[in-house]
Amino acid sequence: MTKVTLTVNGRSMSGEAEGRTLLSSFLRDTLGLTGTHVGCDTSQCGACVVHVDGLAMKSCTVLAQDVNGASVTTIEGMANADGSLGRVQQAFQDHHGLQCGFCTPGMVMSAAALLAENPKPTEAEIRHHLEGNICRCTGYHNIVKAVLAASGQDVSGLGVAAE
């Protein structure tokens, strides 16, 4: 076991990790941050996406020891300082961008990464960027709408689904 220290959502956190300990396991089981979900564990579904030094990565396919010292942002770090929902989270609630909610942490983290590099993405760019995030409820339409709304753009042109 090796001590791994990360800055998680702005706070320094440490724990012991084996060589094989995945970042997703370290966050959930060692640090107790269970907001990051593990859907497929085969790097297909994207439910486990977190930001490592500002870049979206699938935490089930990164070793905890390999990112020792990094700054990590998880879904728990997406709320505002006063505990209210962050911009992307609020847009998901407003536009019914989740059904069962399992994929939502990864969707929000991928969406936030997109908006950080492209503040006003088109619908096509949003769909392209979310290719690595699978929604098992197939609720993509409202997810795309929520991301578009979170970017401050008009969503009235998009069709209505499941509302």
């Binding site: 084996e18 564990d41 979206a56 070793l63 960027h129």
Partner: protein
């Protein structure tokens, strides 16, 4: 996955030393290796991470050559190669998905030499040079069949040197579940002639389509290769496509690449 010792050297020399140990294996971005280890298809005693070696990262222009550090993630190639070698940048930007592109590396991809991976086609079609800690290997000698390369045990790819072509393009027929190429064609035009490399199609991995190269070197248009085809013999057959289907795609994707080349 089975447990292993993890080490993360800061220099190539330290990595070479660490890889000389019993059952030690190099880990780059891990986007293929870690899933393989989860399935217990691979179980090294020691994993040597190459992600902490600064001298193996980055995209630099050296005259008519673009040098890409082996530990450079796909997303960085997509961004930093765009002004120098747009077809290569476009290829990097189509690998996997955004999260995979932030982690997976060019060196890891070509060392693995998956028969459906994108990068080997660019390396082969560009006549690139694979630089390791001990030598320089021409692309034509590097890829040696399914998951086989010229690398020796413990040898590390440190960089890839791409001669910049006059025109090039990569046309990928996406397998939407895996995001690998069902068949992909990379076409590159140089003063010395045209090179065409095909990935995703052959049971022997990436290969050069020499008949198309000869035709395109005289006339760089899709019409020049309209009458050419490759035999279905030796093509991959799986639930996504038959050997005949892939052989057909070789022609289609090569013509699309020629049309798109710029």
């Amino acid at each position: 996955m089975y447990n292993f010792d993890f080490v993360k050297p800061a220099t190539i020399a330290e990595a070479v030393e660490a890889l000389s140990g019993e059952e030690a294996q190099a880990l780059s971005g891990g986007q293929t290796l870690l899933p393989t280890m989860k399935q217990r298809l691979n179980a090294p005693a020691t994993l040597v991470s190459l992600t902490g070696i600064a001298e193996m990262k980055g995209v630099t222009r050296d005259g008519d050559t673009l040098v890409i550090g082996a530990a450079t993630p796909h997303a960085v190639v997509a961004r930093d190669a765009a002004a120098h070698y747009p077809a290569l940048a476009a290829l990097a930007g189509q690998i996997g998905d955004p999260a995979v592109r932030n982690r997976g590396t060019i060196g890891g991809s070509i060392a693995n030499n998956d028969p459906s991976a994108c990068y080997p086609s660019a390396v082969l079609a560009s006549g690139a040079v694979v630089v390791t800690n001990t030598r320089e290997i021409a692309a034509d000698d590097f890829f040696q069949g399914l998951f086989e390369t010229a690398l020796h045990d413990g040898e590390i790819i440190t960089a890839v040197r791409f001669p910049i072509p006059q025109k090039a393009a990569y046309a990928k027929f996406l397998q939407p579940a895996s995001r690998f190429a069902l068949t992909g064609a990379f076409v590159a035009q140089y003063a010395a002639g045209v090179r065409v490399a095909i990935t995703g199609a052959s049971e022997s991995g990436v290969f050069r389509w020499t008949e198309a190269e000869a035709a395109l070197s005289g006339n760089f248009t899709p019409e020049a290769i309209a009458g050419l085809s490759v035999a279905a013999d030796g093509m991959i057959g799986d639930l996504h496509g038959t050997p005949d289907y892939r052989a057909h795609l070789v022609g289609v994707m090569t013509r699309r690449a020629v049309t798109a080349a710029r």
